[in-house]
Amino acid sequence: MAKSREIPNLEATDSLRLAAAKVVEVRTRELFAEAHGVLDVSDIERVHDMRVASRRLRAVLEIFASCFPRAELRAVLTDVKALADALGARRDPDVQIAGLRGFSQAVGRAEQPGVEHLLERFAMQQADGNGRLEAALEHADASDLRGRLEALVDGARRQAAAEGESESEEELRGADEGADGALGDEAAL
């Protein structure tokens, strides 16, 4: 499972608003960094990693809810949840197939027809889940989910600066510099 990235320059004394900008920025980046190859059913860990990243993002959006404009946050949360649900719809049959294959290797030939029967059923669900995930990814792209998340981050960062909670110009520039560096080679949705 993908480990969450450290949040650069996060301090215990940061205001929640400034921390929200720093944390949501990184968690957003994590989510979209995991999108590459996620529809490939031969490597089920990709879906898992992106699903975990979607949960982490959703969690921090909820933790820092008071730091973002309510309407924009609600719309973003709805789309992140829809994406997480679609990832779950693909992940569930992935797990079921993996478990069944482990059982299949442990039992004899007489048990294989039952295993094969169930595998066919789960493969159909996996294909359905993949279709749902593809649609959710397309929706995220079309609705500019990433841009809306980045707008939340930018708004919180600017508000923190306006309130005197941001200690340096460097923090204000943090998002742009991070995007130029770590994100340069990440696949877009």
């Binding site: 969450s4 949040i7 996060l10 301090e11 215990a12 004394t13 940061d14 205001s15 929640l16 608003r17 921390a19 929200a20 944390v23 949960r55 982490r56 969690a59 921090v60 909820e62 933790i63 809810a65 008071s66 730091c67 569930d92 797990v95 079921q96 478990g99 069944l100 059982f103 039992v107 007489a110 048990e111 294989q112 027809p113 039952g114 295993v115 094969e116 029967h117 169930l118 059923r121 508000q159 309130e163 909670e165």
Partner: protein
């Protein structure tokens, strides 16, 4: 399971204060599923408890650096709890699917046999060999049996793990860990924290959950011992605030987080804006109060 909402969290409060408040609420949510989740028939309660553990874990992942070693340990424990409950949930999802598949095959095979027996007033036993799915039952039934056995073992592991958390004072220690940084100690950050590699300064800063900074003395540890911060600071070039004029010039790197306590010694939730509140919502799914670990457990050694 819907999380309890923490309304009116003040965006200008510090991250540590906001996380402390939120962790308290999520920790309480986690315990609200006990004892119901300890009933093997209450799969839904276990599932909700898993979600509560996940919420708490993500908070701790984010804020463990504010609260010290036990918060990091608690992050791992939440992950372990989440994992075992997740595996139980996988069994709870899979077993009914397999049993439903068996039931569906039985209906379809019975229909096939009846078609073969059309016009007869009984089923000729030889007709059972025409059942199209007759070879599938054995594997499916055995898989169902293995899932049932695995679920029982995982549940036993979960109960043992939860009991162990209680014995180790998980709740009390985590509550203490998130509160003690606010009870008069200083949080050392940045270069100062990195400069403290070992020796008395490290012992002072990580003096344990009950260590308290006292101006002019140092850190008073639970056993009454005092770590002389002055010597440590001088030796290491590290910085600590509120300990005297000798180190005031480097105090900019140290963040004092002392806050007032009320008459009972409780620390008010400073991260809440005036008039704000925590909405109990539907977090307590069974209407039961939070489960309690040993109330007199004191923080001990870090795990």
């Amino acid at each position: 399971m819907k999380a309890r909402q923490i309304k009116g969290l003040d965006p200008s409060a510090s991250l540590a204060d906001g996380l402390e408040l939120t962790i308290r609420v999520r920790l309480d949510e986690l315990h609200s599923f006990v004892p119901s989740a300890l009933d093997p028939a209450r799969g839904a309660a276990m599932h909700d408890m898993r979600i509560a553990a996940k919420r708490l874990r993500y908070l701790l992942e984010l804020g463990a650096f504010c609260f010290g070693d036990f918060a990091r340990t608690a992050t791992k424990r939440c992950k372990e709890l989440q994992d075992v409950l997740g595996e139980i949930h996988d069994c709870d999802v899979m077993l009914p699917l397999v049993l439903a598949e068996v039931a569906e095959l039985r209906v379809r095979d019975a229909a096939a046999i009846m078609r073969e027996a059309a016009g007869s007033d009984d089923v000729d036993m030889e007709l059972v060999t025409t059942a199209p799915h007759r070879a599938a039952y054995r594997g499916l039934e055995l898989y169902a049996a293995s899932l049932q056995a695995r679920r029982a073992l995982l549940f036993a592991r979960f109960v043992a793990f939860w009991d162990d958390l209680g014995r180790r004072g998980f709740r009390a220690r985590l509550e203490h860990a998130i509160a003690e940084r606010a009870a008069g100690r200083a949080i050392v950050t940045g270069p100062a924290a990195r400069a403290i590699a070992d020796g008395p300064a490290e012992r002072a800063i990580a003096a344990g959950p009950a260590g308290v900074v006292e101006p002019g003395r140092g850190v008073v540890e639970p056993d009454g011992g005092v770590v002389d911060l002055g010597a440590a600071v001088a030796a290491l070039g590290a910085v600590v605030t509120e300990l005297g004029p000798a180190i005031a010039e480097v105090a900019a790197e140290v963040v004092p987080v002392a806050r007032p306590q009320d008459s009972r010694g409780a620390i008010p939730p400073r991260a809440l804006a005036p008039g704000a509140s925590i909405d109990a919502g539907s977090g307590d799914a069974d209407g039961e109060g939070p489960g309690e670990g040993p109330s007199d457990m004191r923080p001990a050694e870090a795990e």
